[in-house]
């Protein structure tokens, strides 16, 4: 059963009293209304203690009514949706909301670790660097776990987030950031010109201060005027009004980051809707109308629940019809706070007294206060407070001390413009003496600042500036600007006497409430020489919490300035980086999580292979069949051995579509290939293919593959699967940048063609059964390394290559990708008589190792062609990419590791890739390292393990024994160096 919301005013406010909502906080049920935030609803129900502080576990209440909230951080929801550190002041209330206080144990009322308060002498400024330093061994065992438990900010969910997050991009002419009076007018002025406008505001209700104050605009209540403008904006087809959307960063070229909380105000996101959406907004111009943040005055006991920013008291009263307390006093140094408190009083709040540090206050304000029976204590200051929740306030007045019995103390030390986005390109805010605040310095290109964010605190000025800048932005982009009737509102006087800290007050005086940094800590930093603003921040952690010091930076700076005797601008300011408010990692990741992190590419025969029972492996972005286990096979090795044996004795097939395929056409295609490969291609006969090696310009091998000449001006290149995109980009670079004079056009055709390799002594017979009648695949018609175009399966165009990676008689058949699966079926049918066997990447690897071909393991980017035994391929008659650098002394040093084969001396030993080579008798240390094993396989042909590797002077050491040393697996045994070809070194099988 919900308790009544006892602090709710009977009328007024921007809440929907017809829509009551129930919610729970720390297990208790309460009632609120649509239009409430969690904070306003808690206050309405008289809940004032909402959390414990970060270091000292002091009881804390709600301090603000907006994104600047340092205290009221709660865990929202439960289970997988549990979200720590949400600010109760910006959580929109929904029915069934569940929140828990943080940082307390065992309960909010009784917190055992509040003992930290008595340890506070040890937890002051720089405690990380001092108190817990010695002895070093205590850090891990004692200090760190203690600090972790004692200090902290909520618990993250331990299960996977069940919600979706997405990313979106928007374009506009004018982006308006903030929908307060300045932002609404800017959007209206720009929107009426026909420019594409986006108006974004973090709140769920546009209007900003118009919703939180009692002001009249154009003869309407401020909130009603805001709703009226918002309605017009919503009706304009060229304007997009985005509420619940925080523009959190200004990036290069007019790009802005924004977070839209699509489903945060719902128990669970609506069907097919994300929880949050991360926007990239590309704006030609932008108007920043983010308003200003009130700052407190620092005094002893200023953190008790019940001490609250004056503007927040006004917001709760006016917007939410909630009295934050029964007996309210104001402590301020400016007129604005008076006006807000008088308005609150008119709305029904019981304001007992106004304490102002100024001796002289405008007689009109004093008169108005007295008329409402509010005591005025001018020239006074708060020197102490009492109560676990605020009960009494001690005030020093010119006539002596007195104690006020109040449960709420509204505080105002003035306002700080929300300059954050203007700093994102390095702009430094500048000090404005008149308002005692930092105003924007240099802003990012294309961004102007209007209203309170610009230091123009008057409502009339905000409306005028907004309208002017909205119109100006549109006009600069060429939109004709119609006249706009800007509401004439009187500019209230902004009278303020800078005042930061009641130095003679009693008790801990907090500057940064979220990080528990006190005025004393600032004093310690000063005494110990950490006086620059950057040192102050890091030494005391002032302004480093999730609120980034919204309510504390300027105050801390001012206190430091008073200690050093320097002015505030001389002391400096910290600038702000994105994000403006915290952005969840889920939103930044969007859909890029789990299997969706990147797309999975499937081969044309994927479904067919799955039906054959394939086990798949990721190779780059591709999923390829790794092997095809059959019933009764006990492990992958048995399967792979069967597949290899089938190929070597009869015939097998494998999808090789993942190889990169690049089509090259033009009169200079041959000479272009001569320049990118180390070997020659211009003299290659039409109808032939050739293995080629290409280098990087630094002389290392980049990639290898076969390239076929299909016509006088037409070649088709294949690349390795992994390097397909890289090689294509490289070729484009060569053509566009290095040799634009060459007449060649290239295109990637990797996706367009399916390619299947068949290998084994019976492969020709299988091929003969799938080609159309006019295609001659005899040894004469299609000799080794032949490449012809023809048709298969009754009219399907195809490219036939007689190539072999396995060392057996072999062919590769390319057909348009959509025929790939049918080709696999056709080959299986044609080879049934020979027991044709599908094989995967494992068997392919075994056969290439048996044959002694290099592959990805050897093309590591650290090997030159010479190292791989491919040096003799290099032409000496032409220049090519990498030629000169491949000739430098370091790369032609005969002592470099060279490519050789290995077999275990004890034949039963299993070789391991990664094992390092040591000369017999050499100690296993880096200086004696002679290279490493790059690839290993069990050779069914030889009946034992074989390996390939890079060994110092390897080719000169054939027949020698070395040790293969594998400290990772704790193995060490002798291997014999041999030539890298383990099967048919003469290549008779290929040519047969």
């Amino acid at each position: 059963m919900s308790r009544p919301d006892k602090n709710r005013l009977a009328s007024g406010g921007l809440i929907d009293r017809a829509a009551p909502l129930s919610f729970r906080f720390d297990g208790h049920s309460y009632r609120g209304y649509a239009g409430d935030t969690l904070a306003s609803a808690l206050l309405a129900n008289g809940v004032r203690l909402v959390g414990r502080s970060f270091k000292y576990h002091r009881p804390r209440g709600i301090f603000s009514a907006g994104a600047e909230e340092p205290n009221a951080l709660v865990e929202l929801r439960s289970g997988a949706r549990r979200e720590p550190n949400t600010r109760a002041t910006v959580v929109e209330l929904f029915d069934g909301l569940e929140a828990t206080s943080q940082n307390r144990w065992p309960s909010l009322g009784l917190d055992v670790l509040s003992v930290n308060r008595f340890l506070s002498p040890f937890l002051g400024a720089g405690f990380y660097y001092k108190t817990f330093m010695w002895p070093a061994s205590f850090w891990e065992k004692l200090y760190e776990p203690f600090i972790r438990r004692a200090a902290g900010l909520g618990r993250a969910a331990e299960e996977a987030d069940p919600d979706h997050y997405e990313k979106a991009t928007a374009f506009c002419d004018v982006l308006v950031i903030g929908a307060g009076p300045a932002g609404l007018m800017a959007a209206l002025a720009a929107g009426r010109t026909g420019a594409r406008v986006i108006l974004a505001d973090e709140d769920f209700l546009p209007g900003g201060r118009l919703n939180a104050e009692r002001r009249e605009v154009h003869g309407r209540a401020g909130a009603a005027y805001a709703a009226h403008v918002a309605a017009e904006l919503a009706s304009l087809p060229n304007v997009r009004l985005m509420t619940r959307t925080t523009v959190f960063g200004a990036y290069d070229s007019g790009t802005y980051g924004a977070l839209e909380r699509v489903g945060d105000h719902l128990p669970v996101p609506a069907p097919f809707q994300p929880r949050q959406r991360l926007w990239r907004i590309i704006a030609r111009r932008a108007v920043l109308a983010a308003g200003a943040t009130e700052r407190p005055i620092v005094f002893g006991g200023n953190d008790r629940p019940g001490v609250m920013l004056a503007g927040a008291v006004g917001t709760y009263v006016q917007r939410h019809a909630v009295l934050p307390g029964r007996h309210i006093a104001l402590f301020a140094n400016n007129d604005d706070a008076w006006r807000g408190m008088l308005a609150a009083s008119e709305a029904g709040a019981r304001v007992e007294a106004i304490i102002d540090v100024r001796e002289e206050v405008s007689p009109a304000l004093v008169e108005a206060a007295r008329a409402r029976d509010i005591r005025v204590l001018a020239g006074s200051r708060v020197i102490a407070t009492q109560g676990r929740k605020l009960r009494t306030v001690d005030v020093a007045t010119p006539r002596g001390r007195e104690q006020l019995v109040v449960d709420t103390l509204a505080v105002s030390g003035g306002w700080s413009p929300a300059v954050h986005l203007t700093c994102h390109h390095g702009g430094r805010p500048v000090w404005n003496e008149a308002i005692a605040a930092f105003v924007p310095g240099a802003s990012p290109a294309g961004l102007t600042v209007a209203g309170a964010a610009n230091g123009s605190f008057g409502l009339g000025a905000a409306l005028r500036e907004g309208a002017a800048q909205g119109a100006e932005a549109a006009e600069a982009l060429g939109f004709p600007v119609p006249p706009l009737d800007v509401p004439a509102v009187e500019d209230e006087a902004f009278a303020l006497q800078p005042f930061w800290h009641v130095a003679d007050s009693k008790g801990a005086a907090f500057v940064d409430l979220q990080n528990d940094v006190t005025a004393k800590d600032v004093g310690i930093a000063h005494k110990e020489g950490f006086r620059s603003v950057e040192h102050l921040k890091r030494y005391t952690t002032l302004g480093m919490a999730t609120d980034q010091g919204r309510t504390s930076n300027v105050t801390g700076l001012a206190i430091m300035a008073s200690l050093t005797g320097a002015s505030i601008p001389e002391t400096g300011t910290t600038i702000f980086r994105p994000p403006y408010t915290p952005v969840s990692l889920g939103a930044l990741a969007g859909h890029h999580r789990g299997k969706d992190f990147r797309p999975v590419r499937l081969t044309p025969t994927h479904e067919w292979a799955a039906r054959q029972g394939a086990v798949f492996v990721e190779t780059g972005a591709w999923l390829r069949a790794q092997y095809f286990p059959r019933k009764g096979e006990k492990d992958w090795l048995e399967t792979v051995t069967r597949e290899v044996t089938a190929v070597r004795s009869s015939v097998g097939l494998i999808d090789v579509s993942t190889f990169g395929k690049i089509d090259l056409q033009g009169p200079d295609a041959g000479s272009f290939l001569d320049r990118v490969y180390i070997n020659g291609f211009s003299a290659l006969a039409v109808g032939k293919a050739r293995y080629g090696v290409m280098l990087r310009e630094d002389g290392m091998v980049m990639d290898d593959g076969t390239t076929a000449r299909l016509g006088p001006e037409h070649y088709v290149m294949t690349t390795t699967t992994a390097n397909a995109a890289k090689v294509y980009q490289h070729l484009e670079f060569c053509l566009q940048v290095l040799w634009p004079e060459l007449d060649v056009a290239i295109a990637s055709i990797s996706e367009q063609w399916a390619q299947i390799a068949i290998a084994g002594p019976r492969s020709r017979e299988v091929l003969a059964r799938v080609v159309d009648a006019d295609v001659d695949v005899s040894n004469e018609g299609l000799p080794f390394i032949g490449a012809v175009e023809g048709r298969v399966m009754g009219g399907v165009k195809a490219r036939l290559f007689r190539l072999s990676f396995s060392g057996e008689l072999g062919y590769e058949i390319a057909v348009p990708a959509r025929h790939g699966a049918a080709l696999a079926e056709a080959l299986m049918a044609a080879g049934e008589e020979f027991g044709i066997t599908p094989y995967g990447t494992e068997a392919l690897g075994v056969m290439r190792i048996e044959k002694g071909h290099v592959s990805g393991n050897e093309l590591s980017g650290q090997t030159a062609a010479r190292d791989l035994g491919l040096g003799r391929m290099a032409s000496t008659k032409k220049d090519y990419i990498g030629r000169v650098m491949a000739g430098r002394p370091g790369l032609v040093d005969p002592a470099r590791p060279g490519f050789v084969g290995f077999r275990p001396v004890e034949r039963a030993r299993r070789l391991r890739a990664g094992a390092h080579f040591l000369s017999l008798g050499a100690k296993p240390e880096t200086a004696n390292d002679e290279g490493y094993m790059t690839s290993v396989a069990y050779s069914p042909h030889l009946g034992h393990w074989i390996g390939l590797g890079l060994l110092v002077r390897g080719p000169e050491r054939i027949g020698e024994r070395v040790r293969a040393y594998d400290p990772v697996r704790g193995e060490e045994f002798e291997v014999e160096v041999c030539a890298p070809g383990f099967i048919d070194p003469e290549g008779e099988r290929l040519r047969g």
Partner: protein
């Protein structure tokens, strides 16, 4: 960052991949004998030496997720302001 691709128009930098200095010229391998150490030195400089200016920098961007053109971009390394962009096959701006 937005790059004004001369072929596609202004596009987000994410569509491009970066290579670097566009003022480097590949040494002419025919100018001197291949074994000449001067040629090796020139290639060494071409492959390894890069200026790192604070200010205007002409650099190659490849529009991989677009027109696949290599674009010569003049970018201020201090603030990412882009002064111009031209296709590799077109003559570069004088800057």
């Amino acid at each position: 960052m937005r790059i004004p691709c001369p072929y596609c128009g202004e596009r987000d930098a994410h569509e491009f991949s970066y290579l670097g200095d566009a003022t480097l010229v590949r040494p002419d391998p025919a100018a001197v004998d291949a074994q000449d150490s001067a040629l090796a030195d020139r290639f060494h400089d071409y492959v390894y030496l890069r200026d790192n200016p604070a200010g205007a920098h002409r650099e190659w961007w490849y529009h991989a997720n677009g027109c696949r053109q290599w674009v010569r971009v003049t970018r201020d390394t201090r603030n990412h302001a882009i002064a111009g962009a031209s296709l590799a096959r077109e003559p570069g701006d004088a800057a």
